[in-house]
Symmetry: C2
Subunit: 135 residues, 2 copies
DNA sequence: GCTGGCGTTGACGCCGGGGGGAAGGTTTAC
DNA sequence: GTAAACCTTCCCCCCGGCGTCAACGCCAGC
């Protein structure tokens, strides 16, 4: 299988495949004419890469999964190195979520304070009427 | 007050101040010699900018606050435009947090599945011994 | 034998935000 | 007198993950 076919079957582009090879992530054998030659195993590796990318992993983080598959394991995450990547990712996500929630709380506090200040100002400028007298 | 003093008093750099001026965020009057001239009001504006930046706002998002102060309001968030920025920021943060939590759940699921697979494999390779026989 | 569609390498662009740093020239301060 | 502070303009960078040429090679069909 050549690069165009592999790209199409994996839903990506030839440019991306050359890039992955440049990173050493998905090296390709070469046919006699210099064309890259891929097989079904490469398609499997590539699909693993794409899956992880869609899940928010960077390319370097997919490397242990790819090497795990290439080593003959049934799944990309059958190796300890892959599990470590999962754990690091979870920690990273937790950290990021916590920081965002902290920021959110800070902004929410400011927002509420500002809204109260605005309402207080409106109330003092136009003094309150007796509610029972409202029509 | 000249640029160096303002930068120092606000805990930033002259480079940043020139950049803010370039954005039209913090324009400066000029002294006869061409030097930028700032006053205490500018320091107030600048502190508002820095505060918001520390809270995760982009420079453009600080603009309504700065203009609000410059219009004579007591606080940067005394204007509706500033409140809208707060609301947009909150929505943005909520969206971002939700997406990260979704990603986290997905990764956590994969991780747990992989760990179970590993443990199952270990258990099947070395068949279970009777727990009561353990020392 | 020629066109079109694949393939190859290499190099540059970009996206965005927030400046950094250097060059080359005044002005001020001690 | 000279060092520090200021001025402008300019390019650079960071980060990943490619997109987009450019210029060329290989091969199948007609």
């Amino acid at each position: 299988m050549r690069i165009g076919e592999l790209a199409e079957r994996a839903g990506t582009t030839t440019r991306a495949l050359r890039y992955y090879e440049q990173l050493g992530l998905l090296p390709a054998r070469r046919a006699g004419n210099g064309y890259r030659a891929y097989d079904e195993g490469d398609l499997r590796l590539l699909r693993e890469i794409r899956m992880l990318q869609d899940a928010g992993f960077g390319l370097e983080e997919t490397r242990p999964f790819v090497e795990c598959l290439r080593a003959g394991h049934p799944e990309g995450d059958s190796c300890p190195a892959s599990l470590e990547v999962y754990e690091r990712k979870l920690a990273e996500l937790d950290d990021c979520i916590a920081r965002l929630q902290e920021a959110r709380a800070q902004v929410a506090g400011q927002f509420e304070r500002a809204v109260r200040a605005r309402d207080d100002l409106a109330a003092s400028e136009r003094p309150p009427r007796c509610e029972l007298a409202e029509e």
